[in-house]
């Protein structure tokens, strides 16, 4: 298994990433069209499998890209790996700080927002990683 993963280059990562993003967000736009054409009551039968299939494809695509980029960085340039690891460290710490802060704020002031905490944290983690990578890159330039 380790050798298979080592030799497999995870091709077409960029295209799969774009396709996964489209699969993730497409139902939101298609929903309006489906409701408009068949009505709100009958739309459930169409939208449920549509959401299931598209989110499953997006999920598989994102997992493929995550593993692909992970192996690409691991086998690539060592400075880039160090920048990646330090950025991950910054992203993880930031997310953890925001997790506790948001739990406190949402529990006390907006309990319904707790439903969205994972989405908010995911966005925070991505932003922290990108900003962290820029900050770390400057250190080594």
């Amino acid at each position: 298994m380790k050798n298979i993963l080592k030799n497999f280059s995870f091709p077409h990562k960029g295209k799969i990433l774009i396709a996964s993003t489209i699969f993730l967000f497409a139902p939101m736009f298609l929903l309006q069209i489906i409701i408009a054409s068949v009505g709100l009551e009958k739309s459930g039968a169409i939208t449920r499998p549509l959401f299931l299939v598209s989110s499953l494809l997006a999920c598989v695509g994102f997992i493929y890209c995550s593993i692909g980029y992970h192996f690409q960085i691991m086998q690539g340039d060592e400075l880039k790996l160090k920048i990646h690891l330090e950025s991950l460290n910054i992203a993880f710490t930031t997310t953890l700080v925001f997790l506790f802060a948001l739990i406190f704020v949402f529990l006390n002031f907006a309990p319904t927002m707790l439903n969205y905490i994972l989405v908010i944290l995911a966005v925070i983690a991505i932003i922290a990683y990108v900003l962290g990578a820029e900050f770390v890159k400057e250190k080594y330039e």
């Binding site: 060592e78 400075l79 250190k139 080594y140």
Partner: protein, 66 residues
């Protein structure tokens, strides 16, 4: 950690890009090492030793040792 990489490279008339290709890293990595912003891994230091036909401690050394 200090190093004599830029001197050795100049002696052999190698560009940062040439050296990067020889040791299988990016030019940015060579630049960061030369500017002493980044310490290379042991395998990379050994590869550089092999390229310049020198011991690792002749290329890389602690500041006090010089």
């Amino acid at each position: 950690m200090k190093n004599t990489l830029h001197i050795l490279r100049a002696e052999r008339r190698l560009s940062q890009d040439d050296l990067a290709k020889l040791v299988d890293v990016s030019r940015q990595t060579i630049n960061a090492i030369e500017r002493e912003k980044y310490d290379p891994s042991l395998p990379l230091a050994l590869k550089m030793g092999k390229v310049f036909n020198k011991k690792v401690e002749e290329i890389f050394f602690l500041e006090k040792e010089k």
